[in-house]
């Protein structure tokens, strides 16, 4: 058994190269940590009585944006969706741009927690918890857009969910929009189950370490009486693995289904078979950018550099480089087929994207998602944390612009020139978008304050102490 754990991950003959590489590759956890120190450092953030001033500042900003969201939704429900800028021919705009953007961001969380678990990527351990939280909050923000776009969601629920309503109507299962309802609601549910399952042993740790009676009670109830029994761990590990296995095809399906919203239609610019893989890659790309945007300040302000090490930063950058290149391939493919198909509508769609009224946005997204990310090839860039933070923000912007271009330019000039028109968002569109950013950040700040942002039990399992040092009595 000990042999198994010590097995080196290289071929004979490549030993020197590997040793050299290992020396240059930072570890997933800084040396010198024990069960106690990892638990202490991570739980301290939660159990400490003192809340840092920076937290209040950050939460304050997020809270103001959240109030803008409340105001916008209030006005929307009182007035109607006419307060938004979308209208014929651009019937879908910020509502679906932001929906796709947020859903995409969520995908990195599931990729980190599920797919990297199946591939035994140990570096996922210190970022999976907050990445999963990011997924949940991003999906909550995303869901708000289509739901509120129905105008009167409480009346529209029979369009969305199959339940025996008084009109005897059923959702139209041949529509991709219904597939989307099922995909996103399943995704939200499974992400929540996965996240909570992962939290339970850590909640037990917080219960046992909390000093205040109230905290002991609350964490105790949430921990479900977890006591770390070997029998429980056995089923727990199995359930965790199964959930990871189930989530892996799920996350790939969700953005594929989101892309069907477009690809199943016959509109030039939407009707393309490249959409599902291109959307999934874009989702992971933008999601990793958001993980980076959150991880860089988190590790800095909470002193978590020992756990979220340069190894994580390097690996996330590399994932962004790969997925970004797939996205760039998607752009090239779209452009190529608009010419190769010899379809005048497809050809005009692409010409309009490149030279039409929204061309600035198109070239910005090409500049960011195809050109700028080439910087990630350089080690000096991957090690420059402030620069990476800025670049990750740019990627978030670039991916938002991509969705804007796909949605708005395809709709605003379709087959019939007499119905062409321009689209411009109103202040309420911006209010809603800024508001969901506020909701996301507010939830994230609360999460960091009240729940462990790094999975303590998984971190304990990777410290050197956790390795068995015995002769095995087979």
């Amino acid at each position: 058994m000990a042999d198994n754990l010590e097995q080196p991950h290289h071929r004979i003959g490549a030993a020197d190269d590997t040793a050299a590489l290992m020396a240059r590759t930072p570890a997933v956890i800084a040396p010198g940590h024990t069960f106690d120190t990892v638990t202490d450092v991570i739980s301290h953030t939660v159990l400490s009585k003192r809340t840092p001033l920076g937290w209040f500042l950050g939460f304050g900003v997020a809270f103001i944006l959240l109030m803008i969201l409340n105001l916008t939704i209030g006005n929307l429900l009182l007035t109607g969706i006419g307060i938004w800028g979308n209208n014929v021919p651009v019937g879908w705009a910020f509502d679906i741009i932001n929906f796709v953007w947020w859903i995409g961001i969520g995908h990195a969380g599931t990729l980190i927690s599920a797919i990297l678990l199946l591939f035994r990527q140990q570096w996922r351990t210190s970022i999976n918890r907050f990445a999963e939280a990011m997924t949940l909050f991003a999906v909550a923000c995303a869901a708000m857009f289509p739901v509120l776009h129905t105008g009167r969601p409480w009346l529209a629920i029979y369009w969305l969910f199959p339940y025996p309503n008084t009109m005897g109507l059923w959702p139209q299962f041949k529509s991709p929009l219904i597939w989307d309802v099922f995909a996103v609601s399943t995704y939200a549910t499974v992400s929540l189950l996965f996240w909570y399952t992962g939290l339970v042993p850590d909640l037990a740790t917080l219960r046992d370490r909390a000093k205040s009676r109230v905290a002991q009670r609350i964490y105790g109830m949430a921990a479900l009486g977890w006591r770390g029994s070997a029998r429980h761990w056995q089923r727990y590990e199995m359930a965790y693995l199964l959930l990871a296995g189930i989530s892996t095809p799920l996350v790939l399906s969700v953005h594929s289904v989101v892309s069907f919203d477009f690809a199943v239609s016959v509109l030039p610019g939407w009707h393309a078979t490249i959409f599902p893989p291109y959307f999934v890659a874009g989702a992971i790309y933008s999601g990793f950018a958001m993980v980076m945007t959150l991880a860089i300040p988190l590790r800095r302000f909470y002193g978590l550099e020992d756990f979220i090490t340069m190894r994580h930063i390097h690996n996330m950058t590399k994932v962004m480089l790969v997925t970004g290149m797939i996205v760039a391939y998607g752009y090239a493919n779209e452009a190529f087929f608009s010419w190769y198909s010899a379809n005048p509508y497809e050809g005009y769609m692409m010409l309009n994207r490149m030279t039409g009224p929204y061309a600035l946005f198109y070239w910005s997204l090409i500049g960011i998602n195809a050109m700028m990310i080439q910087l990630f090839w350089f080690r000096s860039v991957r090690e420059n944390i402030p620069l990476l933070f800025v670049l990750s923000l740019f990627v978030n912007i670039g991916m938002w612009l991509e969705r804007f271009i796909i949605i708005v330019t395809s709709l605003h000039r379709d087959f019939l020139p007499s119905s062409w028109d321009m689209y411009a968002p109103t202040r309420w569109d911006f209010g809603m978008f800024a508001g969901t950013i506020g909701l996301f950040l507010a939830l994230f700040f609360l999460f960091i304050r009240f729940l462990p942002a790094i999975a303590m039990f998984e971190m304990r399992a990777i410290v050197p102490e956790a390795k068995l040092k015995m002769e095995h009595h087979g």
């Binding site: 058994m1 024990t34 069960f35 106690d36 638990t39 199959p162 005897g168 059923w170 959702p171 139209q172 299962f173 041949k174 991709p176 219904i178 597939w179 099922f182 995909a183 399943t186 549910t189 499974v190 189950l193 996965f194 399952t197 042993p201 740790t205 219960r207 046992d208 370490r209 479900l224 009486g225 977890w226 006591r227 770390g228 029994s229 070997a230 029998r231 761990w233 056995q234 089923r235 727990y236 590990e237 199995m238 359930a239 199964l242 959930l243 189930i246 095809p249 799920l250 399906s253 289904v257 069907f260 039990f457 304990r460 399992a461 102490e465 956790a466 068995l468 040092k469 015995m470 009595h473």
Partner: protein, 182 residues
């Protein structure tokens, strides 16, 4: 606190260890000594413990498979029933039973059924949530969720004998041994 609890009402005896290796070794020895009704407690999952304690494989995977199957059949069934039997509607001339259109929802409900079963099944088989458990009566057990490892031999074991089991546990060179009040 060694002899505060009357023997008849003892839940068991619990030894505390300071490393996962010591716990696995102790569990191994306890099993070889013939103890069966025992459990180990650790702050991290330890794969080798299942073997050391002689635990059987969990039934969870088969339950999850059945949950997924039920979800998939339920999803497809719902689509078929609502689109073909209950309210057939001509949408762009497509067949009422246009099965390719039914696949995405079937896939999602399969996943949902499997995931819900994994979640509910795991907690149900573990008999959690459980608000009270005797092991929490041991003050040292508070570290079971941080850095200490425990082996508890329960009084229900046929080989359990207060004195002999105590001596046996002491022989495993633990950090300490405690009685567990029920």
């Amino acid at each position: 606190m060694a002899h505060e609890v009357p023997a008849s009402t003892l839940y068991g005896l619990m030894a505390e260890f300071d490393s996962p290796s010591a716990l696995v070794e102790a569990a191994d020895k306890a099993r070889l000594a013939g103890y069966r009704r025992m459990d180990a407690y650790s702050p991290i999952p330890i794969e080798e413990l299942s073997e050391a304690l002689g635990l059987r494989r969990t039934r969870l995977p088969i339950l999850v498979f059945l949950g997924g199957l039920a979800g998939g059949l339920g999803g497809y069934g719902l689509e078929y029933w609502s689109q073909v039997i209950e309210y057939p509607m001509n949408i762009g001339g497509r067949l009422y039973h246009s099965w390719p259109h039914f696949i995405p929802v079937t896939f999602e409900t399969t996943v949902l059924g499997a995931a819900l079963t994994a979640f509910v099944g795991m907690w149900a088989l573990n008999e959690l949530p459980q608000p009270y458990h005797p092991v929490f009566n041991v003050p040292e057990f508070v570290r079971a969720s941080t850095d200490r490892f425990f082996l508890c031999i329960e009084s229900g074991d046929p080989r359990f004998d207060r004195e002999a089991t105590w001596t046996f546990l002491e022989g495993l060179r633990p950090v300490g041994v405690s009685e567990v009040a029920p």
